[in-house]
């Protein structure tokens, strides 16, 4: 098509900027344009759940402004620019009344937080935290020593619970599951993390949900399905993420749980690629850092003339709960076997073993967390 047109990357999160950085390692000259709906400030999303522990507010979590990034990576940045469509035949990205020609287009626009529809008039005190701007708004709404209710006991809910306690806040966690991080951790490891968080002062309300949020003074009252009533100044909604697929689907690009791509990160449309939290790579939706980094490295080569399929090594997920450091490498779904657990208080080492005795996955907490690298080396990569 238009060989003079630039590589266009939609999204300036960790996926977009990491890809740009990797492309520059391969090619100093190719034109790159990045388009973002927000201010384009570079930050690392995983750090949003470590702000209090590390003494950083939204401003100091920003790593570099747009000008610095544009200079450092030799690219053009279009901030506060909303993509309205993709003309895959004409190789143009539609931006409202404007449009932008691309030689290659990369979708790195991430995932949306799932928003629950909860009855009640207290919605304005409910905060989803999906990016640095959300985090800034949330921090502003938070008064020192205040009470925070977190909906969701997944990885993000637990990380925020730990971080907010470290920051001196009262923390309540409400979730429908009977354990924390149910889709990620085996029971013993989940119990260890929960116990450690409780010892830190976090209060859990599991196997129930928030049915209503009503204003109360400067905060809200949460009415739980189990009959409990909780008071909070602010509520964090951390019930999960959903890859953004709508614009791709509207453009006729194949989507399923995410934007579908093969190992070359190619979507079903010519010269359109996807990576990061919006992508479903060869059937896997992996909303973590390590897969994203691997994809960025492979895609940078592909885009600069050396087609490269992404391969994943063993990718343990690190859970940032400093009160109980935890790493997990879940076994493949449907794998035969069982968990073999060694436990000493909140120190847990759980190995998922096949009937033949091969270790296919692990979860380690507390002092055993130090073994995560050694264990990663003996586990076969599951998404390779």
């Amino acid at each position: 098509m238009n060989e003079q047109a630039p590589i266009v990357i939609v999204g300036t999160g960790l996926a977009g900027y990491t890809l740009a950085r990797e492309i520059r390692k391969q090619d100093k000259d190719v034109r790159i344009v990045m388009v973002t709906a927000d201010d384009g400030v570079s930050y690392s999303k995983p750090m949003l759940s470590t702000g209090f522990s590390k003494g950083k507010d939204a401003g100091s979590l920003a790593q570099a402004g747009t000008e610095a990034m544009a200079v450092q990576l030799q690219l053009e940045l279009r901030t506060y620019t909303t993509v309205t469509g993709i003309d895959t035949n004409g190789h143009r990205l539609l931006l409202g009344d404007d449009s932008l020609a691309y030689s290659k287009l990369v979708l790195a626009w991430g995932a949306d937080v799932i928003r629950l529809t909860i009855p009640g008039d207290g919605q304005e005190r409910v905060f989803p935290i999906n990016d640095l701007e959300d985090y800034r708004v949330f921090r502003k709404a938070l008064k020192p020593g205040g009470r925070v209710a977190i909906m969701g006991a997944g990885l993000i809910g637990c990380e925020f619970a730990n971080d907010l306690r470290n920051g001196g806040y009262e923390v309540e966690v409400i979730a429908p599951s009977d354990a924390v991080m149910p889709s990620l951790l085996p029971q013993a490891a989940a119990n260890a993390v929960q116990k450690a968080l409780e010892a830190l002062g976090v209060r859990f309300h599991l196997e129930t949900v928030v049915e209503r949020v009503e204003p109360a003074g400067t905060g809200v009252t949460l009415f739980l399905a189990n009959g409990e009533k909780l008071q909070a100044d602010v509520v964090i909604s951390a019930v999960g993420l959903r890859p953004r697929t709508q614009l791709a689907r509207a453009a006729g690009i194949d989507t399923d749980r995410g934007v579908k791509v093969n190992r070359l990160l190619e979507t079903s449309a010519p010269d359109v690629y996807a990576l990061g939290d919006c992508a479903e790579v060869d059937g896997h939706v992996l909303l973590y850092v390590l897969p994203l980094m691997a994809c960025a490295r492979a895609l940078a080569k592909t885009l600069t003339g050396e087609p490269t399929e992404v391969t994943y090594g063993t990718m343990p997920v690190m859970i940032k709960t400093p009160c109980c450091p935890t790493a997990v490498c879940p076994p493949p779904s449907g794998a035969e076997g069982s968990w073999d657990t060694e436990q000493d208080g909140t120190d847990v080492k759980a190995l998922f073993k096949s009937p033949e005795g091969d270790v296919l996955g692990f979860a380690v907490t507390g002092r055993f967390a130090l073994e995560k690298q050694a264990l990663s080396k003996v586990i076969p990569p599951i998404h390779s």
Partner: protein, 55 residues
């Protein structure tokens, strides 16, 4: 001696201090850190660290 920072989680590797927990002696330059060493906090590899100004 230089310092290197993880672009993902902000962890700093200080050459002067090394990383004794992983058997990396104080004074180990970045080049001499094993290629398979990964960020102790978030698990990314050496290639995802960037050099930051010496503090």
């Amino acid at each position: 001696m230089k310092k290197w920072q993880c672009v993902v989680c902000g962890l700093v590797y200080d050459e002067a201090e090394g990383w004794p927990e992983d058997g990396i002696e104080p004074g180990t330059t970045w080049d001499d850190v094993p290629e398979d060493w990964v960020c102790p906090d978030c698990g990314v590899g050496k290639e995802d660290f960037e050099m930051i100004e010496i503090g």
